[in-house]
């Protein structure tokens, strides 16, 4: 049965492929060309030609039904790459799926026309193409999900980076301005990033500026103290600056022990203290 189908398929593709190729450009023009402007005509022509050659390779393979064959894998990769390309260019996954469906109809129609065989009378061929294209649509979705995951990971990394803008302001002096709301998960991010930077840069002093922090709760204050303690344990010293009156009041009412913590009113005072500890003197240029 399979062998019979393979022979039928091979026979179909031994027809003039060159005649089919332009017909397959139509779905590309509809979904990626004209209004959406995702691809130009040359690119669409190349896309159709590449698809056709991969499909011809699959149909000419030993077993066109084998979903693990290198030929089928190449076809899957072609659709995955197409999906990535369209998404990167601002297209939507729906467009790729609709293109794939339309491509299936166009291929069947073109083969019918070219071979003169009505496929309504050859259900096995019809069924074969449907199952192949279903798999290819799955490949499109898999690529879409991978791309989404990659974008989300990149956004998360960017968020982490902006949430912890650690700067080496002087040799051995790190500053970390914290702006916005500090919650437990963000404080843990800050701690992780800061401790790693202390180790990487061999920082002697860390100045954490809380000027932009408006709210603090018990758990977060404990985490803050834990950051200071961890920095000290690594052999650096920590200075907290810019504690707003309401934050100071909150820390006291939460019974947070600040005795082992150096605090200064502003970031500039904190930097002066850091320089003093390192024996650095910053002065105005004598006129």
């Amino acid at each position: 049965m399979n062998q019979k189908l393979s022979e039928k398929l091979s026979a179909l593709f031994s027809l003039k492929i060159g005649n089919i190729s332009p017909l397959l450009e139509e779905p590309g023009k509809i979904h990626f060309g004209s209004d959406s402007n995702l691809m130009d005509d040359d690119e669409i022509a190349d896309l159709s030609a590449e698809f056709l050659s991969l499909m011809a390779e699959l149909l000419g393979s030993k077993n066109p039904n084998d979903r693990k064959s290198p030929e089928f894998h190449a076809l899957e990769m072609f659709f995955a790459a197409l999906s990535h390309k369209i998404l990167m260019r601002g297209g939507r996954v729906e467009e790729v799926v609709r293109y794939t469906q339309l491509l299936q109809y166009a291929l069947i129609e073109a083969l019918e026309k070219d071979s003169g065989i009505p496929f309504t009378e050859s259900r096995s061929v019809l069924h074969y193409f449907t199952s192949i294209f279903n798999e290819l649509i799955m490949a499109v979705f898999r690529a879409y999900l991978e791309e989404r995951e990659r974008v989300l990971e990149a956004q998360e990394a960017e968020l982490r980076e902006t949430a912890t803008p650690i700067t080496e302001i002087w040799d051995g002096v790190l500053t970390l301005p914290i702006i916005g709301t500090l919650d437990s998960s963000r404080t843990m991010l800050v701690m992780e990033a800061l401790l790693n930077r202390v180790a990487k840069d061999h920082a002697d002093v860390v100045v954490m500026d809380l000027t932009g922090v408006q709210n603090i709760d018990s758990q977060v204050s404990h985490h803050l103290i834990q950051i200071v303690r961890a920095v000290q344990l690594m052999g650096s010293s920590a200075i907290i600056t810019g504690i707003q009156p309401e934050i100071a009041r909150a820390l006291i009412s939460l019974n947070i022990d600040l005795s082992g913590v150096t605090t200064r009113a502003s970031l500039s005072d904190g930097l002066k203290e850091a320089f003093r500890r390192l024996g650095i003197q910053v002065s105005h240029k004598a006129s």
């Binding site: 992780e192 790693n196 180790a199 002697d204 961890a230 344990l233 052999g235």
Partner: protein, 118 residues
């Protein structure tokens, strides 16, 4: 030779202590005595304890560090833990209350570095 520990003189009065994986801190009393004896004999005033290979410090290991530091203080030797890893500092800061008995530093000051094993 102290089992599980490598003690190196790195200056006139300073020593570097590097623990290995075979260090058995349950044998605390014997280890502390050995180290104290070596340092007293060499008239040391400073002991650098290298934590570079330690990814995590749990309460048992912290107790060992504190016990050693207190003993060192008793024989007038400063104990300074160096190269504490971020993960170890994070875990340790989570459970300690108050200051540890040892000091901490990022690294050994350059002034000490001319090592020879003892």
């Amino acid at each position: 030779m102290i089992p599980g520990l490598h003690l190196t003189r790195i200056g006139r009065e300073a020593f570097l202590l590097e623990p290995s994986r075979s260090l058995n801190i349950r044998d605390e009393a014997r280890l502390v005595e050995h180290i104290a004896a070596k340092l007293q004999q060499a008239k040391a005033s400073c002991l650098y304890y290298d934590l570079a290979e330690l990814a995590l410090i749990d309460p048992v290991y912290y107790a060992w560090l504190n016990a050693l530091a207190r003993t060192m203080a008793a024989i007038n030797v400063r104990m300074i833990c160096i190269h504490m890893q971020p993960t170890a500092a994070f875990s340790l800061s989570g459970f300690i209350a108050g200051k540890p008995a040892f000091e901490t530093a990022l690294d050994i000051p350059d002034v000490h570095f001319t090592g020879s094993p003892v």
